[in-house]
Symmetry: C2
Subunit: 198 residues, 2 copies
């Protein structure tokens, strides 16, 4: 509907996740009216990320080197491995400053409805990391939804027989939340996982 270059941009933006035709049009016109230096910075950031960033060959996290900062950090514990779905989960856990072990990023969760099976995730790489016997506990921190639970169950079934301790992050009431607004499943989990006090 638009002249060449504008329509090309709308089409390209429309391929991004979560960007529909209306948003693509809105962003395109925003860029048209924006400061050229800002637009140049966006275009550069896109090409740079592709040139410089790759996935860590050990854990699968994003990295600008062959091995990421966490995998090469000598202060991290080698006996504790936290398995997550995506690099953004690593960031979320790092923010808590609670975890001092290392990570393994699966690159997603088992999701047969969308054609994602175990072979599409970095599970073989995870098993490979257990070969030297250093890892003693694996904390499965996949998302608390159907796909994440299925992935956790699949991994546990594979890992427990290998003699490693496998744990799953606790489910329960979110801190600062309101009990009456918790959904039934979360509330049920909170009862199940109740802890003795005093």
């Amino acid at each position: 509907m638009y002249d060449g270059a504008v329509q090309d941009l709308i089409d390209e933006l429309g391929h991004l996740p979560g960007i529909g035709p209306k948003s693509a049009q809105r962003i395109a016109f925003h860029l048209l009216a924006a400061d050229p230096a800002d637009v140049r910075r966006l275009a550069d950031a896109i090409t740079t990320v592709k040139d410089k960033v790759r996935f860590c060959e050990v854990c699968g996290n994003v990295s600008e080197e062959e091995r990421c900062r966490i995998c090469t950090d000598p202060r991290r514990a080698d006996d504790l491995l936290c398995v997550v779905e995506e690099p953004k989960d690593v960031v979320a856990i790092e923010r808590t400053r609670e975890f001092r072990g290392r990570y393994h990023v699966l690159g997603g969760a088992i999701d047969p409805m969308n054609g994602v099976g175990p072979d599409d995730l970095r599970i073989r790489e995870l098993l490979g990391r257990l070969g030297d016997g250093k890892v003693e506990e694996i904390i499965i921190a996949t998302d608390p939804n159907i796909e994440g639970e299925a992935t956790a169950t699949y991994l546990a079934r594979m890992l427990v027989p290998m003699g490693v301790t496998v744990s799953r992050l606790a489910s329960g009431l979110p801190v600062g939340g309101d009990l009456e607004y918790a959904d039934e499943v979360t509330l049920g989990r909170a009862f199940e996982g109740r802890r003795k006090v005093g």
Copy 2:
């Protein structure tokens, strides 16, 4: 939170309209995992739009030339001018194939709450186009919301004394819609603008 280039990209994407931190992160990881050729096409589309596209010096629509396709089209009527807020409105009206006149794009609507006054719109350029006396009717097609109505009122007050016919697009029930779901204002306008049949 991320290594340099990924964080840079998330920051740049976060400056786009309608893109929050979560969407920015999602898009950044999508690009990281995407085919390099696709990513290159997106970056190119962004820089190209900035290099090639400008605003038509006559009507303010987007154009790859000094004057846009519609302004240079000899088959369009010179006596009929449709005033819209944004280039996307031109596209919407062109899609109806109902209008054979020319356009004037204001670049927004009067919106004092967001600091947009008449001087921030292309109103002086609109008045300039009436100098040769060719334009006989101006159809004001600003959005049917508070800002669009205010802009229409402002323009009408200025244009009517100049001896030009000024009209406003009809408000009423959307075709294919359901009467019971129409809001009160729309339904009120539909009564006001009722037309005799038969």
